[in-house]
Symmetry: C2
């Protein structure tokens, strides 16, 4: 094993799993290398510091999540609010899958790191801010589409989207604390309330079940 | 300096400040003792472990916050929703004061520790669950009073209260991430939306300003 791209991938993967399970501060470079099965020299060949690894883990996680959010929220046949609902359903399903694979609800990596690190390293704070701004933009585009259809009542589309994302973070915090992904079942009804919306009707004309 | 109650207080106080600034994992007992100005032997005389100190810090912080919440939310001359609004105003004022004294918005200690530690130590998880249950109970009592007056529209008082608390945690996360307590200005309008409420009228009959 050595300075191969394979080693970088192993370090990234170990860093991602360990940060998800135990946060950033609790980890040392030695433990990350041990989990990755690479010598410590490899670590510093690929990453300047533990913080540089954290930034790479954040970027990789967001690249994946951004693809997921784009797929779920993209304009298509479905009504805007139905797309938002799908986002919540997928969020709950993902937390549930994580719990089944590692025993506990891991929560949102970006929320976890915001509370653990944002007041300690400016580079991480800036990166996390960019990610949440991007999330708010994506939700705002859907809220805006719903507003054009007269399905929501919001004074400021972007602020409303921010409140929806904040509500998700707050409920994911509870899901992690109670180790219970079902906590996220309330996201849909709360999102409708925050947006001053009614549940959208299904194509059959029946109200989509809450 | 030695095994006096004064030393215990100093350790607790150092632990509280350091946990608030940097979280739990980033701290070592040696650093806590150095900040407190007590020898390491004193630490283990009063606390079995760093986790035991964290639990004591959590308990002390909650004792103080519970008194504050009780004062703000207690039944009195003011309408239920006005009391809830006061809770948000005080939350914002406290985050702002913390920012002025230490340079950054520290967020909610219970939220911070929920995301950092709840999936790693069961004792901390259980204690934090109890605290959030108590918070939800206190908010639920106010929501219930508002429901009796026909001022809110909620199907489940306790679930609605939980959503209000989750929204606070989500917005406090953003306040910490953006180092901006003004983020919390939206709590009141969002709370009204989550509770299906109108802004209560002031004694003069004018709508309380959002």
């Amino acid at each position: 094993m050595g300075r191969t791209s394979d080693a970088r991938e192993k370090i990234l993967s170990a860093g991602r799993s360990l940060i998800e399970l135990r946060g950033y501060s609790a980890l040392g470079v030695a433990e990350i290398c041990k989990t990755a099965g690479v010598p410590k020299g490899s670590f510093y060949y690929f990453f300047e510091s533990k913080e540089a690894l954290a930034l790479a883990v954040i970027d990789e996680h967001w690249a994946r999540q951004e693809r997921d959010w784009t797929r779920v929220l993209r304009e298509g046949d479905e009504e805007p609010l139905v797309r938002l609902r799908r986002l919540f359903d997928e969020t709950e399903a993902m937390q549930r899958a994580g719990q089944q694979s590692c025993g506990t609800v891991a929560g949102c990596m970006f929320g976890n790191l915001s509370l653990e690190m944002s007041n300690r390293t400016e580079a991480v704070r800036a990166r996390l801010q960019e990610i949440f701004e991007a999330q708010v933009d994506m939700v705002a585009a859907v809220v805006s589409a719903a507003l054009e259809r007269g399905e929501v009542t919001v004074a400021d589309t972007r602020e409303a989207a921010r409140s929806v994302v904040a509500q998700v973070e707050g409920q994911v915090l509870f899901a992690k604390l109670y180790n219970n992904a079902s906590q996220l079942g309330v996201l849909w009804a709360n999102c409708l309330a925050l947006l001053g919306a009614q549940a959208p009707r299904t194509p059959q004309g029946a109200l989509a079940a809450l």
